[in-house]
């Protein structure tokens, strides 16, 4: 394999000077692929994405060790705006829409960095509305007054407006209705195959993520504990049991798990 688009090499991240969150994470995202980053709550997925897009500073975090390269260029010192200029954009966890702006204005700000003219931008806008018709009907509402799911669509749509080369998607499925979740992943697939957009996807919905991703990393407690082709991961017994909820082959009813409880961690 040639050099990957994104290469994260043994990074450590510390918040607030004292809280060590990532303890040497390495991962590669090859151009034109979909890579999933899986792991439980607090594993450090968001932190990894923030490190890549350089959004750590605002959270008082910093990369203290390791390196991140994009097409062989060191990027730790760049600003987020520089990253967007290089085509890398992050969809932040927790929506973060601009509450006072309307849905359409939100989407339009996404095109802020584009230089290819009004017509092209409008075409993308139409494309986004096509992906998410619900947004079109709510286009003139202030984003703060739309429902959680609508905001999530807005955040994803806003990132797409920048016509990115690579998207860092943080929990895109959160709060979306099942069929929209499916649609979001279809959109990812679509963009990936049609436009060659690369995706790094932090997701809790392991099932979906592994269905659409090419490759996956599993993060636990700030360390990568397992990685492999998505298909292989989906077949892995541990993954099946703990991430897909299919211990022993079948999906267990949520009502039944209540009687017993186990936890397994690869690393204690």
């Amino acid at each position: 394999m040639s050099t990957p688009l994104l290469n994260v090499n043994g990074i450590e991240v510390i918040y607030n000077h004292v809280i060590l969150v990532l303890k040497g994470v390495s991962l590669q995202v090859p151009e034109g692929r979909i890579v999933a980053l899986l792991g439980g709550n607090g594993a450090g997925k968001t932190t990894t994405l923030r490190a890549v897009s350089n959004l750590l500073a605002g959270e008082r975090g910093e990369v203290t060790k390791g390196s991140i390269t994009l097409r062989d260029e060191r990027i730790e010192k760049l600003s987020t705006a520089d990253m967007v200029e290089r085509g890398v954009i992050q969809v932040m966890e927790g929506r973060h829409c601009f509450g006072h702006l309307t849905i359409e204005e939100n989407l339009m700000t996404g095109a802020y960095t584009r230089k290819d003219g009004k017509a092209a931008i409008n075409a993308t806008l139409e494309k986004v509305y096509n992906y998410f018709p619900r947004l079109k009907t709510r286009r003139t509402s202030q984003a703060a007054y739309t429902s959680g799911g609508e905001q999530q669509m807005c955040a994803i749509g806003r990132a797409l407006m920048a016509n990115p080369k690579m998207v860092l998607l943080d929990e895109p499925s959160m709060g979306l209705a099942p069929q929209i979740v499916e649609e979001v992943f279809e959109i990812v697939k679509d963009l990936n195959t049609k436009e060659g957009t690369t995706f790094l996807l932090a997701e809790q919905n392991t099932n979906m993520a592994l269905r659409y991703a090419d490759y996956g990393y599993i993060l636990e407690n700030g360390r990568i504990v397992m990685d492999g082709e998505a298909k292989a991961l989906a077949e892995n017994e541990d993954v099946k049991e703990f991430y897909l909820g299919m211990g022993g082959g079948d999906r267990k009813s949520f009502r039944d798990v209540k009687s017993y409880k186990r936890r397994k961690r690869w690393l204690a």
Partner: protein
């Protein structure tokens, strides 16, 4: 009646002058969510620069024309304000991305101290003069209708015109341009704005420069009215009720708020003041703003405060 009109006009004019300063507040708030207490200090700083440069330019260049001195001083002062904007972004705001409003507000108070000190160090602390040829003599209207006519300051009329023009331009800028939209986005959520590639630092330099420009204009007008001296920075206190009454995020609000406050405080001082012993206008302005806010907590034209779960 003539006197009432006179008070009314006087209030309107004073209000426009407040708006000029309020505009600076609104601009920065709208574009970065920062409540810039340093606006008053910026007005003083800009005015000091203007006054002193126009004094020095004839000496530097040997040209004794007032026009040259004023234009030159204006350009130099503007350049200085851009530098200030750049420094503020580099040294202060750039490092406080994503912090809470109150922290940012305190930082601007820090900037206030710095600018007060720097201004007086660079330019001195005496009273200086700005003379850009604004007419000082009063104008009398309706002299046939009312005894003594209705007095209006010509200087104030000019100032009002300039303020109105600035408001129109800035309103269009915010509502109609992509940059204006980006600025509003930044004010809503620094981090999200960053995440979609809005270069905060460049934007802030621009906004603070524009605010510096507004401060310079306000400084020139207020300075030629009052003389340029430390107290000029305190006129910002007169603009605060205007800002909240009009709405922190509304450019036209700054004007309407200014007019309401201006008229309200002058009328109150003249018709209510004598009953209460006088000197009430300063608190009356705030109480007036407070009363309006009780009905519209976001100010007359401000964006609704979002509060949703």
């Amino acid at each position: 009646m003539g006197f009432f009109l006179e008070t009314l006009f006087g209030g309107l004019m004073a209000g426009m002058l407040y708006s000029l300063i309020a505009l600076g507040f609104v601009l920065i708030f709208k574009a970065s969510g920062v409540f810039n207490f340093a606006q008053g200090a910026m007005v003083l700083f800009a005015a000091l620069a203007m006054a002193r440069f126009s004094e020095w330019i004839p000496g530097w260049t040997g040209i004794e024309s007032r026009l040259v001195a004023n234009v030159g001083a204006f350009l130099l002062a503007m350049a200085l304000m851009v530098i200030v904007a750049w420094l503020i972004e580099k040294l202060v705001l750039g490092k406080l991305v994503n912090q809470e409003g109150i922290t940012l507000l305190m930082a601007t108070l820090g900037i206030t101290y710095f600018l007060d000190g720097a201004g007086q160090t660079l330019f001195g602390s005496e009273i200086y003069k700005i003379d850009v040829g604004l007419p000082k003599d009063p104008l009398f209207l309706f002299e046939s209708t009312f005894e003594g006519g209705v007095l209006i300051g010509k200087e104030d009329l000019y100032a009002a015109g300039i303020a109105a023009a600035l408001v129109v331009v800035l309103t269009l800028f915010f509502q109609k341009t992509g940059t204006g939209r980006a600025l509003r986005a930044v004010a809503d959520d620094h981090q999200a704005a960053q995440s979609i590639g809005i270069p905060l630092s460049r934007i802030w330099v621009i906004v603070w420069s524009v605010a510096g420009f507004v401060a310079l204009v306000a400084g020139i007008i207020w300075g030629s009215k009052l003389g340029v001296q430390f107290s000029l920075s305190l006129v910002a206190l007169k603009a605060l009720p205007v800002v909240i009454l009009g709405g922190l995020t509304s450019v036209p609000g700054a004007i309407i708020g200014g007019l309401i406050i201006g008229v309200g405080e002058k009328l109150s001082e003249i018709y209510l003041g004598p009953m209460l012993g006088g000197g009430i206008e300063i608190w009356f302005a705030y109480v007036l703003a407070l009363v309006f806010l009780l009905f519209r907590p976001q100010g007359l034209f401000g964006e609704k405060i979002i509060d949703r779960v």
